[in-house]
Assembly symmetry: C2
Homo-oligomer: 334 residues x 2
Amino acid sequence: MSVTLRDIARLSGVNISTVSRALTGSYGVRRQTREKVLAVAERLRYRPNRVARGLATGRSHTFGLIISDIRNPFFAEVARGVEDTASAAGYDIVLCNSDLDPAKQMRYVRSLLEKRVDGLLMNSVAGLTRHQQEELAGSGVPVVLLNVPPGARTFSTVSADNFQGGFRAGRYLIELGHRTIAHLTGPRQHGNLTERARGFLKAAQSSDKQVAPTVIHGQHTFQGAYEMTRKLLARHSKVTAIFAANDAMAFGAIRAIVEAGLSIPEDLSLIGFDNVELSSIIRPPLTTIHQPKYEMGQAAAEILLRLAGRRQGQVPEHRMLGVDLVERQSCRAV
Amino acid sequence: MSVTLRDIARLSGVNISTVSRALTGSYGVRRQTREKVLAVAERLRYRPNRVARGLATGRSHTFGLIISDIRNPFFAEVARGVEDTASAAGYDIVLCNSDLDPAKQMRYVRSLLEKRVDGLLMNSVAGLTRHQQEELAGSGVPVVLLNVPPGARTFSTVSADNFQGGFRAGRYLIELGHRTIAHLTGPRQHGNLTERARGFLKAAQSSDKQVAPTVIHGQHTFQGAYEMTRKLLARHSKVTAIFAANDAMAFGAIRAIVEAGLSIPEDLSLIGFDNVELSSIIRPPLTTIHQPKYEMGQAAAEILLRLAGRRQGQVPEHRMLGVDLVERQSCRAV
DNA sequence: CTGAAAGCGCTAACAG
DNA sequence: CTGTTAGCGCTTTCAG
């Protein structure tokens, strides 16, 4: 079928192992010999078989990326960061969408391990049983978890500083003069979001002003926030500002606010979290906490690249990236 | 390192090839033997090495997906369609972002071929030289092209019916009573968009009304359409409706229209193309031509799956998917 | 500097 | 039904 080292060896009159050395650039081949080999390889349009190489060396130069859904712009951005840096180092990434379903996650994990990937990147293992987590940990391949606060786990982690983000959002609103502030968030005990809420509350309580924060739990989606906001407005609360736990929720809030005949920021200030592309396009442009999504992908890939080198002794690495408040036009001073 | 067939063979007292047969389920193993083997495999937590299997069988059960950028929601949707159907058939997909740069595209192609992928999915080869295209074609792996109109090429293709979409958009506006209609599109000679423009023009000329279509070329982006629309409004044209070649452009048009103090659809009707998620969220909800993005990904994967089976004789397959007009609130009768 | 040889882990005839 | 025997294409000692 295709051209192999053997073919080159035969045609250039040297041994196959010499060809291998000449081609992979490892020292120990006479310049003259190397050039002859290279010429023959070129002429035959030789293409190394990386599967065979992988079997011989034990490394596939591939990472697995298991996220909930690539259609989520957050993950698309992260994925791009991962792919760019992995690719620059000669690594490929195989994409898996788990929908956060533990069964699917494990299927992908096993399948990837069978393909002998050199590293795994996942966005959550919260749904896995203790047993499954151990299986993962025991696999021997480095794993980096996304959106998981640094911990003494056996896995590496990459996350944004969610606490700090929540804190900054809260402090910003308070400095603007708001005192009655609602925070729209997801269910209790949702790692990331819980951190944001904690940060927000911390800002409220550490302020020297009298601020009254309320945390409203619900679905952390456009629809969920839409409903929470409707209810909030219906009960004529004294809230003057809303902090949405993510941009999608902020958009849901905008919808409800506009439908109620109110306007932003005149009647109500609003701040989001994530800084998705849409937040700058929407009217009014949304003030929000920027999460360095692409950079998180990069960071994760870098960790994997570093860990994929060593054979054993995986010292997990934790990286927490800073967030920025990007000020647009959805908040005003009162 | 890890458990191999050999280990199982030794511990269960049979030959390695019997183990292989028992495990891969091919007939020809006594029930009793199979069960014993399976038990040992289970006990040892055996995990097949798919790299080794790939080397032996010549198939990697992997497809390469080379798109311009996964952050583009269109491709994210397509990618999800590809991944879901490939995954269901036991295939993985490796994700590559080319930014439509021919050099990058070729690097990915070569790298994927070296990994012996069983199929390639690309969104454009327009930028490749004739020579490069031949290299691709000569590689022997099935290739399916996305967003490329069916042709007598050596590659399979999957696309939406762009001509029909343009036609439907035009006809819809005409039936609503519009006579002076502008079509905002990209540069001349842009495969997809050109088809949409052709369909639009066809609708105008095949109508029994007197309609005056104008096609405006520019950048096919939010910004590009924003500028085109500003100019259009500035010259006080008699245009009562705009057909934007894609939704992003429609959003750009909305921005310009709103800034000019006009409203949609009262002063101007607007129709887009793609039906991205945002088009239903934006105010007013955008009437647009729906492109079956997920299904295009599915279709592409199905073709690859079919072709990946055969060793030779790749009969390229072409699939053009229908589009739908989704009527929302950005157009009105005049 | 180069050749010989032994695998990497699995599949696939081909005999029994 | 099961064992034997070759590989798949490449890397990697170990000699020379």
